[in-house]
């Protein structure tokens, strides 16, 4: 009896599995990478669109008047309400804020407070290490390439310039999406492809194993028959009905046994 490690079935199954793993593994890596990139791109476009729409709706002249300590004034509260309404339109947006440049860096102006429950920053709160995208948003709409950290958490952001009546840029509006939401979107694609990959591999393994087993089973029938004949027992029945090479082998084998039976039969002895 052939050991399992030397069996053709094992060799076939392992060989096919390695081949399938190699092909699907490479496909998986490429697909996950490309899909994740596309998800990130679509999220960036979504944030850019919200930032641009919000910036065009804001009154730049009013926002330019806001100074530290004006958080309880109508002018501030009206703009907070407007940003909060915009943020509520998309429940994946954590916060919309405005900011402006100072002599040395940048500072927050309006904090919509939406989804946080309270405003985390006041007018004039300094922005620690403003990103390049934030600074460049004075010229045109920008989106972050990676997650950024704010006082309200880690987010993925886009910015658009706020203009006054004369078209002068007086600040920027920032739209923050929770990093976890973006990560979940990217993970979902990866996990779905991973699931399909696992199911595909499992199905392939089962099909290969069943296929190999069927093939080897018939070869075993021939081996057992040959073994019995080699011990003088010609009373063997080969029940293999296949149209492939193994079927042809079985037909030839049956013919050989038939001839042996005839030649060994007493009526046909010389």
């Amino acid at each position: 009896m052939t050991s399992i490690t030397n069996s053709i079935m094992t060799k076939l199954t392992v060989g096919f599995l390695i081949l399938v793993l190699l092909i699907t593994g490479l496909t998986f890596l490429f697909t996950v990478g490309a899909s994740t990139e596309k998800i990130q791109e679509s999220t960036q476009q979504e944030l850019l669109a919200i930032a641009s729409i919000t910036a065009s709706d804001l009154n730049g002249d009013e926002i330019a008047k806001l100074r530290p300590g004006m958080e309880k004034e109508i002018l501030y509260l009206v703009n907070v309400e407007q940003l909060a309404t915009m943020a509520q339109a998309d429940n994946e947006i954590v916060k919309i804020f405005t900011a402006k440049k100072t002599g040395t860096g940048m500072e927050y102006v309006i904090d919509s407070g939406y989804n946080i429950g309270e405003r985390d920053v006041k007018i004039g709160t300094e922005i620690q290490n403003p990103s390049r995208a934030m600074v460049m948003a004075y010229d045109s709409s920008q989106v972050e390439d990676s997650f950024v950290t704010r006082p309200w958490g880690t987010v993925f952001s886009a910015y658009a310039p706020i203009k006054n009546a004369t078209g002068e840029v007086i600040g920027i509006v920032g739209v923050d999406m929770d990093a976890a939401v973006v990560q979940d979107r990217m993970d979902f694609v990866g996990q779905t492809i991973y699931l399909v990959f696992i199911i595909g591999i499992t199905c392939t393994a089962i099909i290969i194993a069943v296929f190999s087993r069927i093939m080897i089973r018939d070869i075993h029938i021939l081996i057992n028959s040959a073994d019995r004949i080699s011990h003088g027992d010609t009373n063997v029945v080969i029940s293999i009905d296949r149209k492939d090479e193994i079927g042809e082998l079985a037909v030839s084998f049956k013919r050989m046994i038939t001839s042996l039976k005839i030649l060994m039969h007493k009526d046909y002895q010389p």
């Binding site: 049956k254 013919r255 050989m256 038939t258 001839s259 042996l260 039976k261 005839i262 030649l263 039969h265 009526d267 046909y268």
Partner: protein, 77 residues
């Protein structure tokens, strides 16, 4: 060897292998009045087919034996 003997042997070998000649020679010798297989003629096919069906059924499946006999019988037509 007659043409008909040659054809019968060729068909029979498909079913019985190289020992087909042994079986056919025995059938003609014992059931066709001692006829030598190589002298077989078309007129003997019907009778030979009957005996081949019986004899070969001892070594191959019944349906296969009948199929072989039918092919031999068909050579006479």
């Amino acid at each position: 060897m007659s043409i008909i003997s040659d054809k019968i042997l060729e068909i029979s070998m498909e079913y019985l292998g190289p020992a087909a000649i042994t079986l056919l020679e025995r059938q003609t010798k014992f059931h066709l009045n001692g006829l030598v297989f190589t002298d077989l003629q078309s007129s003997h096919c019907e009778e030979l087919a009957k005996w081949v069906a019986l004899a070969s059924a001892m070594f191959i499946e019944q349906d296969m034996a009948l199929e072989l006999a039918e092919k031999i019988r068909g050579l006479a037509r």
